[in-house]
Subunit: 306 residues, 2 copies
């Protein structure tokens, strides 16, 4: 029996859903408890909580968990790192939704932070989540080895900064007025969405003291997972309803966003998506059946309906 | 001859000015070179440069340098840490100036970032400067010891985050509509401006492997220096011209900001300022003449005209 067949035996869809839900619940609890420890003004904490709690499937923390699990790192040892990554993701959504950015009023079926509070507080709450993510990663309680902490900070800061996510957001905005070609779209998406997803996988590898070869295989998986996630997102934007998404559907078209769907059509986009899933699964070959949950995750990215 | 008299002999005003100017030039060059290494979109880099270069006296990097110098850390070894702190300071100005925040069009005599580019890019450039500060601190080239790097990240993230600078900004905004009492003004300013200034002194102590007693003395100095800086700023807001400040003067009054000057008047504010200077100088007693530049710096904070 080959690894693929084993994978199908080893992890049913129900098991996957239940592990993902567990991770979301634990991440939520961790974030809520962490915010409660902060000596910060009440309205700021409320805005941070609005932006970071009660939301999403926590796919990025799940990536950290599954990647760390390959190296037998127990879940509770990767929880803070996943939560820090999620804070970065949430800050980016809080700022993205601002009137001066996407001007979005709905996120995960709730008013966005600027709508629930005001734009100034949303800017500051985003800044606070971003900064606190690095406080959390560099906290000795997150990992006893300072070399691991420093590498986690470096990895996440590179992924989230001007050469990573923020750089991708700028390219995305520029693509609204001067359409990007196919290569430029892939490059933009690799930064905008891909960088954080890859960082999640890499941070798991850092926690697990992965060998260079293992790290490189996981980086390749992370890159493929980021691509699969983004293409699936672009497909959903044109095929799903706002209700199913919990955010405004069809806004890529309204905002004239440069996406592979817009440039090449739905069928071509679905082919790219299939290719990314195959590529990601291929990169996991050396890890054997222990990587089944990561295989299930990249398939989940491709199959998700919201 | 006591330490105070020695201090006066040891450091003339010209020497101080020249050391401060050297640090500003070297910080500027470091920041420019660092930005040039980033693989980021051109417009984002231009906006980051607009927000971070050609500006200010670089007082915070100078604090890092002088504090580290107490422990014989050479200037080139503290430069990156000072630059990271300055990036945090600059990001906070870029976001502060936004239309949704202070709506300021002039900063250091130049158009603010949102005015020179657009508000969306200013939000992202601020996010990028903030994130890149942590990439720089956690970079092995900044310090070979990962334990030092992790502690620098933790110190700066605490100072800049929800319990520090960003928390202070929220309290400051709240103070515009519900006036703060004197204690609340001090508490707000200790976070809003004081936290980063204290962090600068503390990061120098971290670079120098300061003993707990030395660290605690420097923390006390940093707290006093932060207070002196802020009170001097509030006094200047009502006594100086926009031309001298290179930014809009009188805006505390227009924005109904809660300041000690507004609450207690100029004379009382000047007394608080003198007390903070004396307190800061007192905290430096154990360091002897090697702390003369820090003594000169807190006096400079109090005496500055812009």
């Amino acid at each position: 029996m080959d690894g693929e067949a084993l994978a199908n035996l080893a992890m049913t869809e129900d098991q996957f859903d239940s592990q993902l839900a567990d991770c979301a619940i634990e991440t939520e609890a961790f974030l809520a408890a962490h915010l409660a420890t902060l000596d910060a003004p009440e309205r700021l904490l409320a805005a941070m909580a609005h932006g970071a709690l009660d939301g999403g499937k926590r796919l990025r923390p799940f990536l950290v968990r599954l990647s760390a699990s390959l190296f037998a790192v127990p879940h509770e040892k990767s929880l803070a790192v996943g939560a820090a990554l999620e804070m970065i993701h949430c800050y980016s959504l809080v700022h993205d939704d601002l009137p001066d950015m996407d001007n979005d009023e709905l996120r995960r079926g709730k008013p966005t932070v600027w709508k629930a509070f005001d734009p100034a507080l949303a800017i500051l709450a985003g800044d606070a989540l971003l900064t606190e993510a690095f406080a959390l990663l560099s906290d000795p309680r997150t990992h006893p080895d300072p070399a691991i902490r420093a590498e986690l900070v470096l990895t996440l800061a590179h992924a989230a900064g001007p050469a990573g996510m923020v750089g991708g957001q700028v390219l995305d905005i520029e693509g609204e007025t001067s359409p990007l070609d196919e290569d430029a779209i892939f490059a933009m998406q690799a930064k905008k969405t891909g960088a954080l997803i890859r960082a999640g996988v890499e941070m798991g590898a850092i926690l697990g003291n992965a060998s260079p070869a293992q790290r490189s295989g996981l980086t390749r998986f992370g890159t493929a997972a980021g691509l699969a996630f983004q293409i699936a997102d672009d497909i959903l934007d044109v095929t799903a309803t706002s209700h199913a998404l919990g955010k405004t559907a069809g806004k890529d078209v309204v905002q004239n966003k440069s996406t592979i769907v817009a440039r090449k059509g739905l069928d071509a986009a679905r082919q790219v998506l299939d290719g990314a899933v195959a590529n990601g699964i291929d990169a996991l070959l050396p890890f054997g059946p222990s990587a089944d949950p990561l295989r299930a995750l990249i398939r989940h990215f491709a199959a998700r309906q919201s």
